[in-house]
């Protein structure tokens, strides 16, 4: 089943808690917590602390991220904030600013 999708043009101001995948093409301001994966599309703008199993960023994310699996910043993606994950990739053309904690 498809998880939560926040389409382009939609804005959520507040906390989002989920047990499913969350895909964001729109705006989210607040807090995002899910036990599944989080995907921020190229049009997505997220100003929130994110907790999830994994995070893929092709848009913009400002906030601290904790992922139980991995965090990937895609080409064109922008991530500003401290991250905590066991795997972390920053693609060519992506930007990142923040501390990295890889639980060594």
């Amino acid at each position: 089943m498809a998880g939560t999708v926040i389409g382009e043009g939609l804005t959520i101001e507040g906390d989002v808690t989920s047990e499913e995948e969350v895909v964001i093409h729109g705006n989210l301001r607040g807090k995002l917590t899910t036990s599944d994966a989080v995907t921020v599309g190229s049009t997505g703008v997220v100003t929130a602390d994110i907790t999830g199993s994994s995070l893929s960023v092709a848009g913009q994310v400002t906030g601290d991220v904790t992922a139980s699996e991995r965090i990937d910043v895609q080409p064109g993606g922008k991530l500003v904030g401290d991250i905590k994950a066991s795997r972390f990739t920053i693609a060519d053309g992506a930007s990142f600013k923040g501390n990295v904690d890889m639980e060594i």
């Binding site: 804005t11 989002v16 705006n27």
Partner: protein
């Protein structure tokens, strides 16, 4: 963009949701939902807040007002505690609604005057007390026939005790004037 957004079954949003495009809610939203597109609230979905959109289709539970610029459809199994307003409203058999239901935006809704008065009544009281609103409504209309009978009133002395009566008196006068016509 007319993109469909989905708040899935296992998702809870505590805050406001707004923007363009259609929105389908299968999970929970605790906050206001304001979109320009259609809203579909699924069977398992619940909203605690006001909802406004183009066409709202409700199968789940809502605690709040529903405002549709086109339509509000409350389907079988839905529970709504709040006011409904839209040009077109549908409440299916088996749907539960507790609140004020108002169809508006339709020019066919009688005269503009009456529409305005009911609008005031809704805003001020919010209850279905039509009688005071109606008693007020005919007054401006009754003034015109009244301006003709006043001299007649002086001649007819028996009725005066009726004149100081409240809304009843105005209604009675109106009836008489109609009969005369």
């Amino acid at each position: 963009m007319a993109e469909t957004s989905l708040i899935s079954r296992g998702t809870v949003v505590r805050g406001n949701v707004r923007g363009s495009g259609a929105l389908e809610i299968q999970g929970r939203v605790e906050g206001d939902v304001t979109v320009t597109g259609d809203v579909l609230l699924g069977e398992a979905g619940a909203i605690r807040g006001n909802v406004s959109g183009e066409s709202l289709t409700i199968l789940g539970q809502v605690q709040g007002d529903l405002r549709g610029t086109e339509a509000v459809l409350v389907e079988r199994g839905a529970k709504v505690a709040g006011d409904l307003s839209a040009p077109k409203i549908g409440i299916a058999t088996g749907a539960l609604v507790r609140g004020l239901v108002r169809t508006d935006g339709e020019p066919a809704l009688a005269a503009g005057r009456r529409g305005a008065v009911t609008g005031q009544a809704m805003r001020s009281g919010g209850s279905f007390q039509k009688s005071p609103a109606r008693a007020e409504a005919p007054k401006p209309a009754a003034v015109e026939p009244d301006s003709e009978p006043p001299p007649a009133k002086e001649e007819r002395k028996p009725p005066p005790p009726v004149v100081p009566a409240l809304s009843r008196g105005t209604r009675a006068k109106k009836k008489k004037s109609r009969e005369q016509e």
